[in-house]
């Protein structure tokens, strides 16, 4: 499976030549990774200290993106903010894949009453807009980036449960699984050897879109003042705090928003490419 992913990665790079539209997404993602890894070398200033007497300054040589409401360098905050974004992406992806696959497998492979109950719950949860689930979780747990991650995972989880369950049900009816069972293979072994590798593609595709959703949700919750706490350089929080100075200092809101948009756009664009490659059932997912 890893080999397959690697091959897809290589193909992706090769396809840049055929598809120039991929240049932007790939360079944005690379830039994001580089910024996150080398934030302290790239950022010209501190992201948490500022000069109150030099606040809301327009872009200049010293501050290419200007300064914010506390006189902090906006560029430096965006650079450090990439760490927040990546952290959110990675944790949300990990937890939703692992938990979602586990629950989905349980429902799909074991079946029976467990399946009925889980499917019913997932149906109900999916009828509630994801934003509301995230808001409810935040209301219970309180503010903070870690809680935001929990909120997003809980909002995303039903998608995975439903996806994995449906894949597993198809997969377990297949001949080779039946054959292994007949040969006396253990359930867990069947899952590991036969089922997981065959359903990994769609899950990876779904995970890409989860990455995009995670960035958007974190930004949205922070924008509502319910997510990251100051002075975390969360892009959404930066937008929230700059909102009131819109009229006199638009630059403070423009740049963090662009950062969110470019990141999400790039992830989505790559996700679509991946989907074309890995998931033959692309059409179904469009819903």
């Amino acid at each position: 499976m890893i080999q397959r992913l690697g091959a897809v990665g290589l193909e992706l790079v090769a396809s840049v030549r055929r598809d120039p539209l991929l240049v932007l997404p790939l360079s944005v993602i690379s830039a994001l990774l580089i910024m996150a890894l080398f934030a302290s070398y790239i950022a010209p200033h501190s992201y948490e200290r500022g000069d109150l007497l030099a606040r809301l300054q327009p872009p200049s040589r010293e501050h290419p993106f200007g300064t914010d409401h506390l006189g902090r360098d906006v560029l430096s905050r965006i650079v450090y903010g990439s760490r927040v974004t990546l952290m959110v992406i990675l944790t949300v992806m990990t937890f939703s894949i692992v938990l979602g696959t586990a629950i989905g497998l349980a429902a799909g492979y074991v079946g029976g009453t467990l399946d009925v109950v889980l499917s019913r719950v997932v149906d109900v949860v999916m009828s509630i807009p994801a934003v509301l689930i995230a808001l409810a979780v935040v209301a219970v747990l309180g503010q903070g980036l870690d809680r935001v991650v929990v909120a997003i995972v809980l909002a995303e989880l039903p998608l995975y449960v439903r996806l994995v369950r449906s894949l597993v049900i198809v997969e377990k009816e297949k001949l080779y699984v039946e054959a292994s069972k007949a040969l006396g293979a253990e359930g867990l072994r069947i899952v590991r050897v036969h089922i997981l590798p065959n359903i990994a593609g769609p899950i990876v595709v779904q995970a890409t879109f989860t990455a995009a959703t995670a960035v958007l949700f974190e930004a949205a919750l922070s924008f509502l003042g319910l997510g990251a706490e100051p002075p975390t350089p969360s892009w959404g929080l930066m937008l929230y705090e700059s909102k009131q100075y819109f009229r006199i200092a638009p630059h403070v809101a423009v740049f963090p928003g662009l950062a969110i948009f470019l990141t999400v756009f790039s992830i989505n664009a790559l996700g679509e490419k991946l989907r074309d490659r890995l998931d033959p059932r692309a059409r179904a997912l469009l819903k």
């Binding site: 934003v131 808001l135 679509e272």
Partner: protein, 310 residues
Amino acid sequence: MSFLRYVFYRLLVAVPTVLIIISFAFFLAKLLPGDPITVMFGELQPPPEVRKALEEKLGLDKPIYVQLAAYVGRALQGDWGKSIHTGEPVTSLVARRFVATLELTLASIIISTLVGLLLAYISASRPNSAIDSLVRLISIGSYSIPVFWWGLMLILVFSVNLQLLPPGGKEGWRSLVLPSIALATVNLGMIARFSRAAMLEVYTQDFVTAARARGFAERLVMIRYVLRNALVPIVTLVGYRFGVLMGGAVITETVFNYPGMGKTIVDSIFARDYPVLLGSIMVISLTVVVVNLIVDILYAFLDPRVRVKA
């Protein structure tokens, strides 16, 4: 399965959904920080004997399943409690806000459907052309835009710079323009992508080929055969997007200070006004359930194949 039996079946399935949603609200209330009596009194905490009497009156001393049953019973009768801060019944407060959110949601559904269909029509007419790629790009862009930032940008251009429209609030239809455009922008991409696919699928079917073979003009074929036949799945998609849009409205409202459910929810989280929070979440969820139900039934009515699957 006959159509009526299908409708009956769907309604029956919706009953537990509604009950589960109300139970979710109940357990959410139990999970929220602060017990209801402390929250109710705020600044002035009552003496223990008053507290005890109140616990009995509110049934908080009973086993949890009895409380749950009582809560579901009250909720079904329309008693959702009162706002902690103003004493207004949640139902009347929520009902007022709900209309505003519905207006916003419907307005953006209309805009996004029209624009989305137009984009889909353009790209489906020339599949795999440059313009098709462009539409694809616009679509990905559409669902990648953070709606709150987009809202701010619209305010910046149309109300701060051009001074054409109000930046927020709710004063007449003018204040609905920017929020619904913002919300429509992030939704039209999905509609365009899906509609394009639906149109292309119809496009390859026999009767369309036959129509073209008969020498009808390409545009006539597109409109008369392709668009019309693709409408069923498109209407369904738009219906299912309703829930996503309501969620989006929650955030959009905050940007524009639009007094709907979204703003009510965010405000009530900050104010720890839990009855209002729970009432709002329940109303939105139940609305989505009802809309999905209607769409399911409508779809089944339009496309008999669905009933068999159920």
